[in-house]
């Protein structure tokens, strides 16, 4: 569950609880206050009734005209009952035939009244002369209850609106607060694609330690990677000099008497060399990120390569039939390695002509290198591929070219094909997928 959703639900629940308590509490308090206030009125009414004149026959004269109008109106909502010395019962006309029992105790009570009214009943006892007065006054409380119900509803509605509002505000706050996380997410994606080496977004203090630690670990990983990569590269380069020494020693005249030994040692040295080159190449490919500056730009990178090959093979005509291409998402050095090796092979074998063609076909970059040399018979082609064999050893070099090419092409998820060329010799086709560009 996302953090935002969790916070939303939490806030919604807490707002609802608060609103419930608030609504209930305020209605209860209001009810209390209202009862107190109305009880006061009932008491006043009772006291004023207690002062009604009593005649010589011990009869209380109730002059309807002296009473409040609502006492005389049937079921008006205001009632009284007067008991004098337990033998005289007087009732307000408004009670009609309803019997109102006195309330016990000094507090007002809610009772069911006539016509579905709910009555607030209060009973007071007085002494006047020799008489005991028990005066019960009541008034219709249902209007108050109705109003309180309405109030409760209002507070509920208000609470609901407030809850929704709060959730929206919180969302906004969270979104603002989590903005750095969004940026962080994008940076992490870039990190994943290898377009970034560290997280740079300024993040809130709460997650800053995570980001700092992540950066620290990334830095460490990069350092370790660099160290091992440099280590392999340095080792490979360092091994080449002793290998050269041994090659030179093998060429000594003294060894001419032991051709078998010489050839065997020679082959072992070649094996070592091949391993060294392969690991060196792997270390290079592991660099991962291709910085924009190191990208392969056929427009500017091909000319020096072709120029170099023309110098190496002055008798061969090198033709560049490439289409106009923008900068491509691969490392310049690796592409030069692929094309250099292929063109070098073409130069070695060609009779007079070698041709390079670069073209984009849909999502593939198709590079072909062909020559007018003897070519390779179809049945031997699979033999040449796959393990960097040294079919070209008779000419010169150590037969590493195609192996390295295969390694690079594989690394970039491409395909390598050997076919017959229209020029008469071999045509090597390399197809690389152009993605993420």
């Amino acid at each position: 569950m996302s953090l935002t959703r969790r916070l939303d639900l939490g806030l919604l629940a807490s707002v609802l609880v608060v609103m419930l308590l608030l609504a209930h509490g305020s209605v209860v308090l209001f009810d209390q206050v209202m009862r107190d206030y109305l009880t006061e009125r009932l008491r006043e009414d009772a006291e004023s009734l207690a002062t009604l004149p009593v005649n010589s026959n011990n009869e209380v004269q109730i002059d309807p005209l002296r009473l409040r109008a609502s006492f005389n109106q049937v079921y008006s909502g205001q009632y009284f009952v007067i008991d004098i010395d337990d033998d005289i019962h007087l009732r307000s006309r408004s009670l009609w035939d309803y019997r109102l029992k006195p309330a016990s105790g000094d507090t007002a009570q809610i009772r069911r009244g006539p016509e579905g009214q709910s009555l607030l009943v209060w009973t007071g006892r007085y002494h006047r002369g020799d008489h005991h007065f028990t005066i019960t006054t009541a008034l219709d409380y249902s209007s108050v209850t109705r109003r309180l119900d309405w109030l409760r509803l209002c507070i509920w509605a208000l609470g609901g609106v407030m809850a929704i509002l709060l959730v929206f505000i919180q969302r906004r706050v969270i979104r603002l607060g989590l903005k750095p996380l969004g940026r962080l997410q994008r940076e992490l994606a870039q990190l994943h694609e290898g377009r970034r080496m560290a997280l740079e977004t300024r993040v809130p203090d709460e997650i800053a330690p995570f980001v700092a630690e992540l950066n620290h670990q990334l830095g460490r990983i990069e350092q370790v990677l660099n160290r091992s990569r440099d280590g392999i590269a340095n080792l490979s380069h360092a091994l080449k000099t002793p290998l050269s020494v041994m090659e030179a020693q093998l060429a000594r005249r003294e060894l001419e008497q032991f051709p078998d030994l010489r050839n065997s040692l020679h082959a072992r040295l070649d094996d070592i060399h091949r391993l060294v080159e392969r690991e060196l190449q792997r270390a290079r490919l592991d660099t991962g990120e291709v910085s924009p500056a190191a990208r392969f730009r056929p427009a500017t990178d091909l000319a020096p390569l072709i120029e170099t090959l023309r110098e190496i093979y002055p008798d061969i005509t090198f033709v560049d039939d490439s289409a106009e291409l923008p900068s491509l998402p691969w490392d310049r050095d690796e592409m030069l390695e692929v094309l250099g090796n292929l063109l070098d092979n073409a130069g070695k074998w060609a009779a007079s002509l070698a041709r390079l063609t670069l073209a984009r076909e849909d999502e593939w970059l198709v590079m072909t290198v062909e020559d007018d040399g003897p070519g390779i018979p179809a049945e031997k082609r699979s033999h040449v591929m796959g393990r960097g064999t040294r079919l070209d050893e008779q000419v010169s070099g150590h037969g590493l070219g195609l192996g390295i090419v295969e390694q690079i092409v594989q690394h970039y998820g491409g395909r390598l094909r050997l076919e017959d060329s229209a020029l008469g010799g071999l045509m090597v086709t390399v197809e690389l997928p152009i993605s993420g560009d």
Binding site: S244, E247, R252, E337
Partner: protein
Amino acid sequence: MRLLLIEDNVPLADELTALFTQHGYAVDWCTDGRDAAVMATSEPFDVIVLDLGLPGRPGLTLLEQWRADGLDIPILILTARSSWSERITGLRAGADDYLPKPFHPDELILRLQALVRRRHGQRPSPTISVAGVVLDENGQSAWRASNETPVNLTRAEFAILRYLMLHPDHVIAKDRLLDHLYDSEHDRNPNVVEVHINHLRQKLGRGVIVTQRGQGYRFGGDATAA
């Protein structure tokens, strides 16, 4: 043929010195880039073999500086850096050839010969053929085109004959010949050159080397054919 070897790895330099000497080069050896910078311009070398990873001063810087100063000697880069981009960089910095380590000694020698030949306007081939005399660089033997019987040459004879044949139309002063035949530490004795030249004349005919009195020697070619 004087060769400047700039290589900081002693075992390799030893092997290469032996190899080059065996093929008729007079070798001077530097291990440090700063020494090499001075040496290359102060002595008349015919070819330089340069390692790129040098103490003192990087090989590429040396190369660029020499070319900027107008030093016109053929330079072969010998390096562990084998990628094509590095090769292109080296060649564009002014090197004439680029050989990644490890290499086959034969290939190095062939490349050196080709470099020197190219510098003297000759096509690279296993033999030098001038004015009816053919010199086999790999076999260190020579023969006259009219005779066809190869004559083995000593290292010094081979070196002298090759130098003269690469400059067929020049009169070479004895000092210059000495400059190009012996490294800077070798005891150079002008009389020894005369002895070698006499031997060459015995082997290939009197006219093969002409003495221009007071000036030096000139390659004469196959006098019998002329």
